[in-house]
Amino acid sequence: MQTLTWSETWYLAPEIVLAAFTLVLAIADLVLPGRINRDLIGWGAVLGLLTAGVFVGWHIHDLGVWDSAGRDPYYNLLDGSYRVDDFGNLLKLVFLGAAALIVLASLGTLKKEEIPIKGEFYYLVLPAVLGAMVMASSGDLITLFVGMELLSITSYVLVGIRKSSGLSGEAAFKYVVTGGTASAFVLYGMSFLYGVTGSTRLFDIGQALQSGAVGDYKAMVYAAFFLIIVGFALKLALAPFHAWAPDVYQGAPTPVTSFLGVVAKGAAFAMLYRIFMNSALFAVSDNAQVRDDLYLALAVLAAAAMIVGTVGALRQQNVKRLLALSGVANAGILLIPLTLDVTNLHSSLFSEFFYYLLAYVFMNVGAFAVLTAVSRESGSEELSAFAGLYHRAPWTAGAMTVLVCSLAGLPVTGGFFGKLFILFGAVQNKVIWLAAILLATTVTSYYVYFKFIRQMYMRGGESEKQVRVPPAVGFVIWLSALASVALGVLPKPILEWVNDLFSVTKDFLAP
């Protein structure tokens, strides 16, 4: 058993920074007198997230230097149970950036009547992100699970933070129950995997599965992976495991909803990628059938999520429920690159996945920021709160139009190219049925997303009062809208960058 040496703590710098900021901010919240505005804690959280981001960027740079010097661009800590590699680093950047935007958008908009202890909200975001980062960086089932629980438990608290609201309590309860069930499924599946292969380390599991463990215990392998898939389907709210999502999204405060939709989802995907790319990839074994079945199961889940999410969103009038179901559909889309397997032709669609995840982060965070601004004025989170927004806040309406176009996948936005790349991958691998479902649900979703357009431009609002957008919220809205357009006009730099950094063989298939 390898232990952590002092010099190795450098590789954990982003995680340590987050943990330190959490502690400092929690203590600060405790000792600072009540008259001091708790937005200060929020700014501290943003600072912590950005600092951690800088360290992640530093790591990416260092790994790049190693790569050009001929050294493998990854570092194993503690016997490979924790990995610092480009896959993890890229996703960590997304989590940190998204969380920073979400905290920014909540500054000055949290209502004191609803969340009496605002500081708590701000410093709880940090350990949640820490959990997500651990999930992205784990090379071992146990670390993966620890990261997942850290993220989940903090999220339970965050969902229920509006203590006086019945909806929030209901949401927290539902989230605890489904989250716990999901963890149980995942853990049960993992125990089977350990039983078959004798290891919790993902690389060893992969080796054992390749070298014949599958042949003797085929049923166990199926059980292990299906249990894991079900657990993650619950976490990701993939249909038919999505029923909790609308209630939880509706009950949670808007920034937390946004966090669940982006960071929690992204982290679950990171974990799914780790498990599947490392261990379900029996590329050279004679048990290709097992592998094909597993990927097919994922593909079917993706299809079901796209269909159920889109159709469910058709009749929603509550913005958060609508975006929850849109999140179900988008999770389906994000799952497609993983289901397409690794072929000689197209080694991995991780860059495509990453690009769409990034586009999804901006559209989702942006849309929720607009919702924050709009519902602050009217107190309503129904679609009708957007009525006449064109008259009340023309520029915000313009930004929302861009975000809606990105959600609907219309050019020229990040959402459009994201879907286009994923579609191309599917068609190239001749999985036309999945591409057809993606396209059909996209068209149906026009109807869903254009509800916003109709409200904003074609309905009169109840009042002509101008909507006042706090500067931080306005910044997040505009950053998201501009980034959506920038991703659409120039998708190349991101994809080129990810393609340079990421490598299937070094990030997943290496010890």
Binding site: V342, T343, N344, L345, H346, S347, S348, L349, F350, S351, Y390, C405, L410, P411, V412, F416, L420, F421, L423, F424, V427, Q428, I432, A435, A436, L439, A440, T442, V443, Y446, Y447, F450, I453, R454, Y457, M458, L490, P491, K492, L495, E496, N499, F502, S503, V504, T505, L509
Partner: protein, 536 residues
């Protein structure tokens, strides 16, 4: 001189520039907004005219072609291909614009109809800034569709017409505008989805090419029209061999049928037409001018450009199907047009009928017929724009366009009524006006191969005479209801576009070679591809 400039991009993006300019004009300055919009609408028209004049059919549009690599997206290859001597594996999105004898008349049509619709927008009083912003954005989309020579670029421009049109219908239309806008969005969105799937199949198979370089093989997927066209007709291309990029027959047929449905919705082909009736009836007249005058023609253009040129063999074996659908369109549209009480719906059904003639031209798959299809598109574009221009002016004065509520308008509106009659006659195919030429060419093209279907289609012309004369005469003659006695004749700003459009209809009616000459070499490349001995 025009060759030295990226003239095609300038035409396509001038309106976009105008849209951005309007965005920063003051909300209240409606005169300056309208003036800016007119400037940025007429400028591309003038350039398109210059282009039309300097275009030499025998030379083709090669000198005007523009090519830039817009995006070159790396595809991951580190677990497989990199071990096989491949150094570069990419998905290319080129920025390619081009012009030929088929798209040039349609580009000019876009310029003319947009400009006239901009003049006719004088009746739009609500939210002018947003209106002209969207109007200009729509123009960029339309020019782009006819000029783009890369599948993805084409698709982007195609979608770019969708969003502004949704707003234009939904905000400035009549009572049922929102429903019309929704239906427009869903049907056209569906069409786009079909199209995109077909395009992706093409890019992933026929778009594949390899090139050896100093360091190793370079593999690319491209949506460029030239690459696809060359690969599809090259028996040694990966798409035609048994490879991972094989475009197998079922796949080829799927792509073809998807494209037919996609453009069939736009055209529209019966029974995919219901959305278009709503738009005709509920959108504001200048918007319908654009919609009926240009957007429907994108369907015709797509059928020819992607259906006929990329899949000549498939189209050849489906010719009877298309011809039959065309005849159904002609007769269905014409017969229902006879039964309508609302003039706008008469025109809508008449559009369906006329687009059927375009289908016949495409189905003929010979030069005469295809020229007829393009000619018919342009001619119908001008005629329906003119008719909806008149509808707009009439509605301003009478607040109704129901045939049974109107009558005797010739007494109070002699000029408008005269133009209406001319447009009606052009629509029913009177020789000497543009409608006649398009119909004649299409029917002639089809006659050799399918005489009976042609005969059935010609029957539609009879109905055309009935519905046009019935509606136009009962609106202009007979007793004038008292409430219209004080109606005033059109102003100059309304009369001008009427005169221009009428003049053009007469011009290409009496002198059709001004357009057919331009098209004369446009179909050479495709006709050569067809197996010998078919068609007329």
């Amino acid at each position: 001189m025009l060759e030295d400039l990226p003239i095609l991009s300038i035409i396509a993006f001038l309106p976009l520039l105008g849209a951005l300019v309007t965005l920063f004009l003051p909300q209240g300055g409606s005169r300056i907004i309208r003036f800016t919009a007119l400037v940025f609408t007429f400028a591309p028209l003038l350039l398109a005219i210059a282009l039309y004049i300097s275009y030499e059919p025998a030379v083709g549009g090669g000198a005007f072609a523009e090519k830039l690599t817009w995006l070159s997206i790396p595809l991951n290859m580190d677990a497989g291909l990199s071990n096989n001597g491949v150094t570069s594996y990419r998905l290319l999105f080129d920025y390619r614009m081009g012009i030929d004898g088929i798209s040039l008349p349609l580009v000019l049509l876009t310029g003319v109809v947009s400009s006239m619709a901009a003049l006719a927008s004088v009746h739009i009083r609500k939210r002018r800034k947003l209106y002209y912003f969207l109007f200009l954005l729509l123009q960029t989309g339309m020019y782009g569709v006819f000029l783009a020579r890369d599948l993805t670029l084409f698709f982007i421009f195609f979608e770019l017409t969708l969003i502004p049109m949704f707003f234009l219908i939904g905000i400035w239309g009549y009572f049922g505008r929102e429903q019309a806008a929704n239906r427009f969005l869903v049907y056209n969105g569906l069409g786009s989805a079909f199209m995109l799937l077909a395009f992706l199949i093409l890019i992933a198979t026929a778009g594949f090419s390899t090139a050896p370089s100093a360091t190793g093989m370079q593999l690319t997927f491209s949506g460029s029209y030239e690459v696809l066209f060359a690969n599809l007709s090259d028996p040694n291309a990966a798409a035609n061999l048994n490879s991972a990029m094989h475009l197998s027959d079922p796949l080829k047929w799927s792509a073809f049928v998807l494209l037919i449905v996609a453009f069939g919705i736009k055209l529209p082909i019966f029974p995919l037409h219901t959305w278009m009736l709503k738009v005709h009836a509920e959108a504001a007249p200048p918007v319908v001018m654009i919609h009926s005058g240009i957007l429907l023609k994108m369907g015709a253009y797509g059928l020819i450009r992607f259906g006929a040129f990329l899949f000549p063999d498939q189209l050849d074996s489906w010719a009877p199907v298309l011809a039959t659908l065309g005849v159904v369109n002609i007769l269905y549209g014409a017969i229902l047009a006879c039964a309508q009480k609302e003039f706008k719906l008469v025109l809508a059904y008449s559009s369906i009928s006329h687009m059927g003639i375009v289908l016949l031209g495409v189905a003929s798959l010979n030069e005469t017929g295809l020229e007829g299809a393009v000619f018919q598109s342009v001619s119908h574009g001008l005629i329906s724009a003119l008719l909806f221009l008149i509808v707009g002016s009439l509605y301003e004065r009478t607040e109704t366009t129901r045939i049974d509520e109107l009558g005797g308008l010739a007494r109070v509106l002699p000029f408008t009524s005269g133009i209406l009659l001319t447009a009606g006659l052009a629509s029913l195919g009177l020789p000497g006006l543009s409608g006649f030429v398009g119909e004649l060419l299409s029917f002639m093209g089809l006659f050799d191969a399918y005489p009976w279907l042609t005969a059935a289609g010609v029957l539609g012309l009879l109905f055309a005479a009935v519905y046009v004369l019935r509606s136009v005469l009962s609106m202009t003659y007979g007793g004038l209801p008292d409430r219209f006695a004080a109606v005033r004749e059109v102003r100059f700003v309304e009369a001008l576009p009427m005169i221009v459009l009428t003049a053009l209809i007469v011009l290409i009616g009496v002198y059709p070679s001004i357009m057919t000459d331009i098209m004369s070499h446009g179909f050479d490349g495709m006709i050569k591809l067809l197996q010998p001995g078919h068609g007329g």
